[in-house]
C-alpha cells in the first residue's frame, strides 16, 4: 500500500513536472547587433569611459510610448548586443564625447547586424606619446589636439593613470602635481582655443611621495591622455581619449 502511495505520488509529480512549465509565447531575441562608433573623418574608433561614458540610446519602434534603452559602449568605442529582437529601431546619441547624432528607421534583421556609427568627436588627440623616463623617474606624455568643428574649445587636458584598462576621467588614481610635473592642465581664456601646433606636455613625477605611494607596487600600469571639449548647445560633454598605453613600473 505504502509502495503504491510512493509510486503514485512520484508519478503525479512527474506528470506535473512535465506539464506545468510551458515556454511563454514570446519569441527569443533573435538578432545580434555589433559595431563601433567611429570618427567620420579619420575612421578611427572614438574611445570613451565604460561607466558614464558614451551610450547608445535605442528606441524600439512599434509601441505607443517607446521607452529608451541604453546600450553600453566598450571603452575603445566598440559595442555588441547579442540579445536584440528583430524590428525597426531609432538610435540616439546624446551626452557623449561627440556631436549629438541620430539614426532613425534602422531595420534590424534576425541574425548578425553589423552597424558602425559615423560621428564627429569634439576633440581628436593626435601624435600621442606616453613614455617612462627612468632617469628622471617620470611618466611623460605629449600630444596635440584638433577640434571636431571650428567652434570647439578645450577646457582641460589630462594624463590619467590606473591599474587596469578602464583608466580615464572616471577611473583614475589621484595624482599630485609638482612644480615641474603637471598631470592635468585646466585651461582658461585664450588657452582654451585649439591650435593644431600646440603640443601639450603632461607628466607624473614618481618621486613625489603621494605619487610614489600610488605606484608603489611593481606591476603594469595603464595610462591614457584625454581632453575635455567646450561646445554650447549639445548638453553634457564627456572626455575624448587616445588609446591607453601599458607601462610596467
Amino acid at each position: 500500500m505504502k509502495k503504491t502511495l510512493y509510486i503514485l505520488s512520484l508519478f503525479t509529480s512527474l506528470v506535473l513536472f512535465a506539464t506545468s512549465c510551458q515556454k511563454d509565447n514570446y519569441p527569443y531575441p533573435n538578432a545580434q547587433v555589433f559595431g563601433a562608433i567611429r570618427d567620420s573623418i579619420s575612421g578611427g574608433l572614438i574611445e570613451t569611459d565604460l561607466n558614464s561614458g558614451s551610450q547608445i540610446g535605442v528606441y524600439e519602434q512599434g509601441y505607443a510610448t517607446p521607452v529608451i534603452r541604453n546600450w553600453v559602449v566598450k571603452q575603445n568605442g566598440e559595442y555588441r548586443n547579442n540579445l536584440v529582437y528583430s524590428n525597426t529601431y531609432n538610435f540616439v546619441f546624446q551626452s557623449c564625447n561627440f556631436f549629438p547624432y541620430s539614426l532613425n528607421g534602422v531595420e534590424i534583421k534576425a541574425g548578425e547586424n553589423p552597424i558602425d556609427f559615423q560621428v564627429i568627436p569634439y576633440i581628436r588627440l593626435k601624435n600621442v606619446s606616453i613614455t617612462y623616463d627612468a632617469a628622471a623617474n617620470k611618466i611623460n606624455a605629449t600630444f596635440s589636439i584638433e577640434g571636431g568643428k571650428p567652434t570647439v574649445k578645450v577646457a582641460k587636458v589630462s594624463l590619467y593613470a590606473f591599474t587596469d584598462i578602464y583608466v580615464g576621467e572616471l577611473v583614475k588614481k589621484t595624482l599630485t602635481a609638482t612644480a615641474t610635473a603637471l598631470p592635468t592642465q585646466t585651461l582658461a581664456g585664450a588657452d582654451q582655443t585649439i591650435l593644431p601646433a600646440t603640443v601639450y606636455s603632461l607628466s607624473i613625477d614618481l618621486t613625489q611621495v603621494a605619487n610614489a605611494a600610488v605606484f608603489a607596487i611593481h606591476r603594469n600600469y595603464y595610462f591614457r591622455v584625454g581632453a575635455m571639449g567646450i561646445q554650447t548647445g549639445v548638453g553634457t560633454i564627456r572626455t575624448n581619449y587616445a588609446p591607453y598605453v601599458v607601462i610596467p613600473l
Binding site: S52, S95, A210, V234
Partner: protein
C-alpha cells in the same frame, strides 16, 4: 403545500434584504470628513497631518530612503544628512551614503491631494465654524505647505505637474493626466504660493494655538531660499547643460539671465523683508572671545529654545519612547563611538571631512578670509594627500605635536562648536582619533586595533591608542561594514548633539531637540549671494551681513563680499544643515567637484621614533573613497528620474 409557500416567501424576503448597500457603508475605523470638520479641533488634526507631510529635510530625513523615517524600528539604513552626499561629511554605513543624488523617491502627490482637499474643506466651513481671520490663516498655512511641497519637487525633478485643486474621477478622465509644467512655471508657482502664505500668516505664534506653526517669516524665508535656488539654476545651467525632450520642452532648464536676475531680486526682497521687519537677528552677535563664541554657537543647536531670536522656523518632536513613531535619533547616531552603549551599532559614524575642516579660518584676521591651514609639516607643503597612512614616508618632515588637540589652536570658533576635534572633551570622554603607530624601527601599524609597539621610553603603545574596544572613535575596523563603528575622517559631528543631557535610552527615537529649518544666518547669506551674483540690491549691505556672521564667530576683520567668500561662508556656517548639497546642485558644482575624487581625512599617528612619543598628522584620502577609486557625480544627476512615466505619460528627464 401552504407551509412550503410561506417558507419560500420568507426565503425570498430574507434573500432580498440580506445585502446592505455595501459600497455605501461608512468605515468604522476612521472619522468621516463630515464629522471631522464640524469642530476646529478636527480641523487642527488635519492641519497637523499636513505639517507632518511637509517635506522638511530634518533629523528624520534619510536621503537614501524616505522623509519622516520614524518609529521604534526605524533603522536609518546607514544614513542621515544630505551633507554625507557632499564634501562635508563621510558616513560609514552599510546602506551607502556615497556622493550621489537623493534617492528618497519623493513624489508626494498624495500630500498635494490632502492639501487641495483641505482648501475645499475650510472653504465649506468659512462663516460656519471658521471666522474670516481663522479661515485666512489656515488658507495661508496650507499655501505655505503647498509651496514647501512643490519646492521639494521642483528642486528634485525640475518642472512637475501643478495641481491646484482636487481631481475627481469620472467623466472625461483625460483631465487626470496633468502634464509637467516648465521648470520656470513651477518655480514661479512656488514663489506665488509663498506670496499667498505671506498674505495672512501671523508675525508671531503662541503656545496655545501651536508654537510650531508657520509665521509670515517662515514664508518669507522659504521664498528667499527658493528664489535663490531658481536664480542659480537660471544663471549656472550652462555649467552642466543637458539635452533631450525634457530640455526642448523647457521642463528642465530653459531659463534666461533675465529670469535669473528677477529671481535674485525676489530673494533680495524676501530676505530684506525678514531682516528689516521680523525683529529677528543673529543669536549672540558680539561674543567676548572665540571661546564664548564657540559656547554660544553650540547652544544654538543643542538647545534651540535659547536662540529664538535667530530662528524663523523649527520643527519639534515628542519623545518616541512614550509616543510611538515620534522622536528622532541624532544623538544616538551622532555620539562618538567612545560613548556607545551595549549592543548598539551605527555609532559615531558621521565624520566631517578634512575638506570642510580646512575651510575654517583662523584668527589672524587679515581682511581676506583665507582658510587657516592646519600645519602638519615643517616644510610648508600642505597639499599632499596620501592614498593611505601606510604610504607615509619616514623622511617627510612632519611636525610633532604633544596632543591630538594642539594642531587646531587658533581656528574658527565654529570648528570647535560644531565639529568634535581629536583630543577635545565631550560628555566625560576625551575624543581619541589616533589612527596608527610608527614603531622606533620605522615600521608602521595603521587603521587597526591589533598590534603594539614599545617606545624608546620603554612603555607599550597601541595603534588606536588603546586596547579598550570602546576607547577610540575613529579609524576602527574600516571596510568591515557592520562592525565599523566610528568615524573614517578623524573628526566626529558635534552640531545638534546633546552634551549637557542624555536623551532617553532608546536607539531610534529618544531625541527630541528641535530641528532648525530656517535661521537668520542663512537669510543674511541668501541676501549677500543674491546681491553680489546679480549686482542688484546693496553690495555694502551684503558685506555687512557676511561679516556679521563672521563677527558672531569672534572674527574682528571685514572681508570682501565676493562670490567665493560667500560660498565658503555658507559651507562653514551652514555645515550639516542640508544646505551644502543643494548649493552644489543649484550652482552646478557637483560634477566638477566629484570626478573620481576622494574626500580627505586627517589621521593622528603616534611616532615612537622620538622620546617621549609624539603625534604627527597625516593628510590622506578617505578610506572609503579611496577603496571605491573615487566618487563621481554624473551630470544627469542634477535632476532625478520622474517616477512612473509609463503610466502617467510624463516626459522623462534627460539621461533616464
Amino acid at each position: 403545500m401552504k407551509k412550503q409557500k410561506i417558507f419560500l416567501i420568507i426565503a425570498v424576503i430574507t434573500l432580498l434584504s440580506a445585502c446592505n448597500k455595501v459600497l455605501d457603508l461608512q468605515p468604522i475605523d476612521r472619522v468621516p470628513a463630515s464629522q471631522l470638520f464640524t469642530d476646529i479641533r478636527g480641523l487642527k488634526t488635519v492641519l497637523a497631518t499636513l505639517y507632518n507631510k511637509c517635506p522638511i529635510e530634518d533629523y528624520n530625513y534619510v536621503p537614501n530612503s524616505t522623509m519622516n523615517m520614524t518609529g521604534s524600528g526605524a533603522d536609518r539604513g546607514g544614513g542621515w544628512s544630505l551633507d554625507a552626499h557632499t564634501d562635508n561629511m563621510v558616513i560609514v554605513s552599510h546602506g551607502g551614503d556615497a556622493v550621489a543624488p537623493t534617492n528618497d523617491g519623493y513624489w508626494d502627490y498624495t500630500g498635494i491631494r490632502y492639501i487641495n482637499g483641505f482648501f475645499d474643506n475650510i472653504k465649506a466651513l468659512k462663516g460656519n465654524i471658521l471666522d474670516d481671520a481663522s479661515y485666512n490663516r489656515l488658507w495661508s498655512e496650507a499655501h505655505w505647505i503647498r509651496a514647501y511641497t512643490y519646492y521639494a519637487l521642483v528642486s528634485r525633478y525640475g518642472g512637475v505637474p501643478i495641481i491646484k485643486k482636487s481631481l475627481t474621477i469620472g467623466g472625461d478622465n483625460s483631465q487626470l493626466y496633468v502634464p509637467r509644467s516648465t521648470e520656470k512655471e513651477t518655480w514661479d508657482f512656488v514663489l506665488a504660493e509663498c506670496d499667498s502664505a505671506i498674505m495672512y500668516l501671523p508675525q508671531t505664534v503662541n503656545a496655545t494655538e501651536g508654537s510650531l506653526r508657520a509665521t509670515v517669516w517662515a514664508a518669507y524665508a522659504l521664498k528667499s531660499r527658493a528664489a535663490l535656488h531658481a536664480a542659480s539654476i537660471a544663471k549656472y545651467w550652462n555649467n552642466a547643460p543637458l539635452t533631450g525632450p525634457a530640455v526642448d520642452a523647457k521642463l528642465v532648464g530653459g531659463m534666461t539671465m533675465t529670469d535669473a536676475n528677477a529671481y535674485y531680486q525676489q530673494c533680495i526682497d524676501a530676505s530684506k523683508a525678514i531682516i528689516d521687519n521680523s525683529g529677528k537677528a543673529l543669536y549672540m552677535p558680539n561674543p567676548a572671545n572665540p571661546t564664548a563664541a564657540a559656547t554660544n554657537l553650540q547652544a544654538l543647536f543643542e538647545t534651540p529654545a535659547v536662540a529664538d531670536v535667530e530662528i524663523l522656523y523649527k520643527k519639534g518632536y515628542v519623545d518616541g519612547v512614550s509616543t510611538q513613531a515620534q522622536g528622532h535619533q541624532i544623538d544616538f547616531y551622532g555620539y562618538p563611538s567612545q560613548l556607545q552603549q551595549a549592543s548598539a551599532f551605527m555609532f559615531g559614524r558621521m565624520g566631517p571631512t578634512l575638506d570642510l575642516v580646512n575651510l575654517y579660518e583662523n584668527y589672524t584676521d587679515n581682511g581676506i578670509g583665507a582658510p587657516g591651514v592646519l600645519v602638519t609639516r615643517t616644510d610648508g607643503n600642505e597639499n599632499t594627500y596620501l592614498p593611505t597612512p601606510n604610504n607615509l614616508s619616514l623622511t617627510t618632515p612632519y611636525k610633532y605635536y604633544n596632543s591630538q588637540y594642539d594642531i587646531f589652536a587658533g581656528k574658527d570658533a565654529r570648528l570647535f562648536a560644531w565639529i568634535m576635534l581629536p583630543g577635545s572633551a565631550f560628555k566625560g570622554i576625551t575624543l581619541n582619533c589616533q589612527g596608527g603607530l610608527i614603531k622606533p624601527d620605522g615600521s608602521k601599524i595603521m587603521y587597526t586595533i591589533s598590534g603594539s609597539g614599545v617606545g624608546l621610553d620603554g612603555l607599550t603603545y597601541y595603534p588606536l591608542g588603546t586596547t579598550n574596544a570602546i576607547g577610540f572613535s575613529c579609524f576602527s575596523q574600516m571596510g568591515t561594514d557592520l562592525s565599523a563603528n566610528g568615524s573614517s575622517t578623524g573628526f566626529v559631528i558635534k552640531k545638534f548633539l546633546q552634551e549637557k543631557t542624555t536623551p532617553t535610552a532608546s536607539r531610534y527615537s529618544g531625541s527630541t531637540n528641535d530641528y532648525i529649518v530656517f535661521r537668520m544666518a542663512e537669510i543674511y547669506l541668501n541676501y549677500a549671494e543674491a546681491a553680489i551674483e546679480s549686482g542688484q540690491g546693496d553690495a555694502a549691505l551684503a558685506k555687512t551681513y557676511l561679516n556679521a556672521i563672521r563677527k558672531r564667530a569672534a572674527h574682528t576683520d571685514q572681508i570682501p563680499a565676493t562670490i567665493a567668500n560667500i560660498a565658503k561662508e555658507r559651507q562653514v556656517e551652514l555645515a550639516f544643515e542640508q544646505r551644502h548639497y543643494w548649493d552644489l546642485i543649484r550652482k552646478r558644482e557637483f560634477h566638477t567637484l566629484f570626478s573620481s575624487s576622494r574626500r580627505k581625512s586627517l589621521v593622528p599617528v603616534m611616532d615612537l621614533r622620538v622620546n617621549p612619543p609624539k603625534y604627527i598628522f597625516v593628510r590622506v584620502n578617505n578610506y572609503y573613497d579611496e577603496a571605491a577609486n573615487g566618487v563621481t557625480w554624473n551630470p544627469n544627476s542634477y535632476y532625478r528620474s520622474i517616477p512612473g512615466t509609463a503610466s502617467n505619460l510624463l516626459i522623462q528627464n534627460p539621461g533616464f
